[in-house]
């Protein structure tokens, strides 16, 4: 049973959604479906195409490289997601606490605009930093820790942290702006009420601001996780998954399978598995979030 208002709301919703959905369907859903369908073929994406059913998935389960890439991914995610989620929160809190709006404006600009540096340049700079006679190793030598100097990107033990460290100091970027917008939307009446109750700065942060920023934290953790899952171009330029596959991630493995090894069907199967994994993860996070609240 639907009332008249319900029905009109539906129509209005449809109208509001139409432009976005038109774009989305045509340029995202359609290509995605046709790409993921390849998972059931043995194909190089060119002329050869042969239906193999679930063969690609079976092969994937037996592929030690796939499992290695998943392990690397967990390693990447464990290192990246917490710092990328909490770093900007810290930066935003500092900015928000600052009294002088003009100083806040300039700090904010300084913290955000370096996202303009093209990725190629960032990589060039860090490669120079990590070099055998680069500043890091020279510094270690100078303070008497010379035996710890190493080819940071060439050592399976350090390659993952070294790649993650490229985001240092993690406080800036667009995530900072998202948090800042969150801080700004906290009603001042809430803060004032808490202050009247005699809450200190820490209490205020923990019991008023943090709960109000729950959505933002969730969104950013999700975005950061997605970033880790999708990121392959940086790794491809820096190490191409080496040494000894120590920095191979599923996304990079997918790219290499599809475009370097010419196994697009296999790559699509990897994509499907990755997608399922992400979906499961998101559902889990949202379920956990709902249980908490």
């Amino acid at each position: 049973m639907t009332s008249a208002t319900d029905r009109s709301e539906r129509w209005r919703a449809a109208g509001f959604l139409l432009p976005a959905l038109a774009f989305f369907g045509l340029f995202v859903v359609l290509p995605a479906l046709s790409a993921l369908a390849l998972a059931f073929f043995r194909t190089d994406g060119l002329a050869m195409r042969e239906w193999v059913g679930t063969e690609n998935f079976r092969q994937l389960i037996d592929d030690p490289l796939f499992w290695k890439s998943i392990r690397n991914l967990l390693w990447f995610a464990l290192l990246t997601v917490p710092v990328q989620t909490l770093g900007p929160l810290f930066g935003a809190k500092l900015l928000y606490t600052l009294r002088s709006p003009r100083a806040a404006y300039w700090y904010r600009t300084l913290l955000v605009f370096p996202v303009l540096v093209p990725g190629v340049v960032t990589i060039l700079v860090w490669q120079e930093l990590y070099g055998a006679s680069g500043p890091i190793n020279l510094l270690l030598d100078a303070v008497g820790l010379g035996e710890h100097a190493r080819a940071w990107l060439g050592d399976p033990a350090t390659v993952v942290p070294a790649i993650v460290a490229i985001g240092l100091p993690f406080t800036g970027g667009v995530f900072l702006l998202i948090y800042l917008a969150g801080f700004l939307s906290i009603p001042p009446s809430l803060l004032e009420a808490a202050k009247l109750d005699g809450a200190g700065a820490l209490r205020l942060f923990a019991s008023v601001e943090l709960p109000m920023l729950r959505t933002q934290i969730g969104v950013i953790a999700l975005l950061s996780l997605l970033g880790v899952l999708q990121n392959f171009d940086n790794i491809q330029i820096l190490t191409n998954g080496g040494p000894m596959n120590a920095s191979l991630t599923p996304a990079l493995y997918l790219f290499r399978s599809g475009f370097e090894f010419g196994q697009l069907g296999y790559a699509s199967a990897l994509g499907v598995v990755l997608l399922a994994l992400c979906a499961a993860l998101t559902l889990l996070v949202r379920w956990a979030g709902r249980r908490q609240s």
Binding site: G45, A47, A151, P243, F259
Partner: protein, 538 residues
């Protein structure tokens, strides 16, 4: 409000600029009303859009693939001036004009892929390496050249009856063949490889260019004893220096089994290591390779040549600058030019960057410029290796730029014209004219075309018989990916030679199995049934 451009300029340009300028002094007027802010935003948006539309308003459509016009696209920009110079001659001869364009090297593979897939590819492509032609060739998207190459090239003036294939250097044709022996690209340039060395250091230490492996190691030790780094190199899928060394050594050490591998030959064929012409026209087919692999002749896990090669290169790796696993190929000549390492092994295309860098250094610190020279890869002696050898090291020179032509089932005439253009461009007389107009040090693929004078030291002097009996890096792109990781592991000291050859053997076997499945329909079944009664298993 009536539309009047006169109002637009102050409204759209001056006001926001003034506001913005004021905001620098006081970014936050406390009383900024929300409506004003919104208007300000709208103005910025309109300004941005209007400006973009204005500047970018010369958008026009271009028609591609006109009749009577061919397009050549190259990923090597430096070859284009030479090609452009001879295209008018082609137009005069055939009535088909042609134009040459470039596509940036970065992401060119993706570009080529989408162009070929969408059937909007240029008529002729000048690409690098054989991997890409093989892949698209196997998918039936490229012209296969074997039949064309065996006919004479009618642009080849004086030699009108010589088969086209004989205009190219023999080894290059061998390198062009895929694992099943087919040719999907026509060679155009090749690189030559040698050790670049710092002559100032050599003079200071009283060293002379080494001729044997032992002398090379002795020189490296002397350099190291003087507190310098001996050899800078990079080990990455896109930096092949260390693989070239291995290829040179492996080729030498596999020569003794050439006749056992190459069994499907013309009657009375004999392998003579000292006669480079003896391999002309010979092909190692996939069938032969499967059989040889099954017998252990070219199986890394069983053929001692692989293990021995790995041992020698690993011995050399002790002399690498320790950052070799993280270095990028681009940085290698920079380290050398800074005087931070005394040798690096590389090819003809490094002559130009190195010269440019030294010119740059001369401008700001002339005392840091040093003289350098090149010596060829040294010979292996009985002292270096216990394995039998026939002849000496074949100086590595390999295919660099080659032509591919996408198939055009809808327009066979156009396809034939494109093939004709490739024939024209590779005719020695035309190619000589082209090369004369470039700054490219790479060696022409045609022996009759003289290389640039500066490339002299990198032109191989002595040649021995050449057959690609086995590929150190594997037989398809996937096994090559696996190879690089094993190789990094071996040279980085993470796995030893035994483990390396064992895993490389498994990788090669899997690659050959994949290929045999793909090519099952085209293979000579009777031969295989005779030689491999139990079939080839992964």
């Amino acid at each position: 409000m009536p539309f009047a451009p006169r109002n637009l300029i102050p409204k759209l340009l001056l006001k926001p600029a003034r506001d913005w300028w004021a905001s620098l002094y006081d970014p936050f007027p406390e009383d900024l009303p929300e409506r004003k802010l919104r208007r300000c935003w709208a103005r910025v948006g309109v300004l941005f859009l209007a400006l973009g539309m204005e500047v970018g308003s010369i958008w026009a459509e271009t028609g591609a693939g006109e009749r009577g016009q061919l397009t050549v696209v190259s990923i090597h920009e430096d070859l284009l001036p030479g090609i452009r110079a001879v295209l008018p001659e082609f137009a005069a001869k055939t009535g088909w004009s042609a134009e040459a364009q470039a596509v940036p090297y970065s992401a060119h593979e993706l570009w080529i892929r989408t162009q070929i897939l969408s059937r909007s590819a240029p008529d002729v492509l000048l690409v690098e390496s054989t991997d890409l032609p093989w892949r698209y060739g196997h998918s039936g998207l490229l012209v296969r050249w074997d039949a064309w190459l065996s006919q004479p090239n009618h642009y080849d003036g004086a030699h009108a009856s010589r088969p086209w294939i004989d205009t190219f250097q023999n080894e290059l044709i061998h390198q062009t063949r895929d694992a099943a022996g087919a040719i999907w690209c026509v060679p155009y340039t090749q690189y030559g490889v040698g050790f670049f060395y710092n002559r100032a250091v050599y003079d200071e230490l009283g060293l002379s260019p080494p001729r044997t492996w032992e002398e090379l190691l002795a020189n490296f030790a002397a350099v190291r004893a003087s507190g310098r780094s001996a050899l800078v190199t990079a080990v990455k899928p896109n930096d092949h220096q260390s693989l070239w060394m291995a290829d040179m050594i492996l080729e030498l050490q596999l020569r003794p089994v050439a006749e056992q591998v190459n069994v499907q030959t013309r009657a009375g064929w004999k392998f003579d290591a000292l006669d480079p012409e003896c391999t002309r026209g010979e092909v190692i087919t996939l069938e032969e390779r499967l059989v040889a692999f099954d017998r252990g002749l070219i199986d890394p896990a069983r053929a001692p040549a692989f293990r021995e090669t790995a041992r020698l290169i690993r011995r050399l790796a002790a002399e690498f600058r320790p950052d070799f696993l993280s270095l990028d190929g681009e940085e290698v000549p920079r380290v050398f030019a800074r005087g931070q390492s005394v040798h690096f092994l590389n090819g003809t295309w490094y002559l130009r960057p190195l010269t440019a860098m030294q010119r740059g250094i001369a401008e700001i610190a002339p005392e840091r410029v040093f003289p350098w020279a090149v010596f060829p890869f040294p010979e292996l002696t009985a002292q270096s290796t216990p394995l039998p050898r026939l002849g000496g090291i074949n100086q590595n020179s390999g295919l660099r730029a080659c032509f591919i032509v996408p198939r055009r089932p809808d327009d066979p005439d156009r396809e034939r014209r494109a093939i004709d253009l490739v024939r024209f461009l590779t005719a020695p007389a035309v190619a000589a004219e082209s090369f004369g107009r470039t700054a490219v040090y790479d060696l022409p693929a045609m022996p009759e075309v003289a290389p640039k004078p500066g490339a002299e030291p990198l032109v191989p002097k002595v040649r021995y018989a050449f057959l690609t009996l086995a590929q150190f890096r594997g037989y398809d792109a996937r096994s090559e990916g696996e190879f690089w990781n094993l190789w990094q592991g071996l040279l980085g000291g993470l796995i030893d030679e035994d483990e390396f050859v064992r895993r490389l053997g498994a990788s090669h076997r899997a690659a050959l199995f994949r290929l045999s499945q793909e090519k099952a329909a085209q293979m000579d079944r009777t031969f295989l049934r005779q030689q491999l009664p139990e079939g080839f298993r992964p």
